[in-house]
Symmetry: C2
Subunit: 221 residues, 2 copies
């Protein structure tokens, strides 16, 4: 068995677990989004701001993937939502079985929107279906405007690209138009949002996107 065979076997097992998860989320009416980005792009900060805006009218939940520390789940639990931390044992991505394990603990069964915050990594999480409705890629303005073409797979697969930390735009070199053009080339159907969780700019549009997706999922039954 070669390295490639092993990888194919691992991905096939993941696909099978993801199908089971997707059916479970459909039956429960839970919208599931899989957030993928570099370390420090602001996934947890975006979720904190989202919880502040949405948790009064929607049941939210989160699964946080990290190599080490319970820090991200702690930050979200502090805001009153159920959040389960998965430590990946060194692996650079979450897999569907880890998400199943988190769901089987029961605390996330009632969530209307489940956020899966993947391990900070623009590469590895791309290939692992977690049963989500769609992937979201985050790119902070501090990371530079050349990233979509340098990490094309995730930008091609994510239904939504969120440019974060737009409050830093006056202090960094970041051409929003260049990013928009790269994203449009890689994935013409992708939505591009610009947010600053710190100032709140763009948060209404982001929350509306989530609520619209939830309404569509419910309408489809």
């Amino acid at each position: 068995m070669t390295e490639l065979d092993v990888r194919e076997r691992v991905l096939a097992a993941n696909e099978s677990a993801a199908r089971t998860l997707r059916e479970r989320f459909r039956a429960a009416g839970t919208l599931v989004v899989n957030l993928i980005s570099s370390p420090g792009s602001g996934k947890t900060t975006l979720l904190e701001a989202t919880i502040a805006l949405l948790s009064a009218r929607l049941k939210l939940g989160a699964i946080d993937g990290d190599i080490a520390t319970e820090r991200d789940a702690d930050r979200l639990r502090r805001l009153g939502i159920p959040a389960h931390q998965v430590l990946t044992g060194g692996a650079c991505h979450l897999d569907a079985r880890q998400v199943q394990g988190a769901m089987d603990r029961g605390a996330l069964d009632d969530a209307e929107i489940l956020f899966i915050e993947n391990v900070g990594n623009l590469i590895c999480p791309t290939s692992y279906d977690l049963g989500e409705d769609f992937k979201i890629v985050l790119l902070s303005t501090a990371e530079g405007d050349d990233k979509p073409f340098k990490y094309p797979a995730i930008f091609a697969r994510a239904a939504v690209c969120v440019i974060t930390k737009t409050d830093l735009l006056p202090y960094v070199s970041f051409d929003l138009g260049a990013v928009a053009r790269q994203v449009a080339t890689l994935n013409p159907a992708a939505l591009l949002l610009r947010v600053s969780a710190r100032t709140g700019v763009g948060m209404d549009e982001w929350c509306a996107l989530l609520e619209d997706a939830l309404a569509r999922k419910r309408a489809e039954g």
Copy 2:
């Protein structure tokens, strides 16, 4: 053969290639540093500023690892140093055989300092020895001050931790002391530098570190 067996076999083959590379670099008197960070932490920008300061008196060279695009090597070649781009075919790290392949092209043989700019990733590159003298981990102030404990393996192994983009400190939430304490816990011997390639702050100390390391390597023969 299990997934774990395959990984052990891959790492053993890499170790063997790295030993050959290390001997080659020792014989040539080339100081080799392996730069590892998240995407967008400023590896290429740090190297551009380093070339501006050092290339008049030292022969520099670079190997750039990326998933896609020749962009990073192009940026360095524009400053007059030989730079070879390795496209990893989707892999989340460089390996020693790719570095051998780059060296066998000949253009980097004369380098006194060789910079290996790894794929943007805080996880995967950690386990792959590239024959370097030491690893350097970069962390930008925009990424947040919780990263060493969240990605402990690279911070434990890197001899030098460079905090980049210190010009953004007034605009982000980043506690330098907290980072220093985490790095000291994970690797008491690590050196911690603070630089802004944009303003030049800290660049003299960074260049002195490289020149001192080169002098020590030459003295050891």
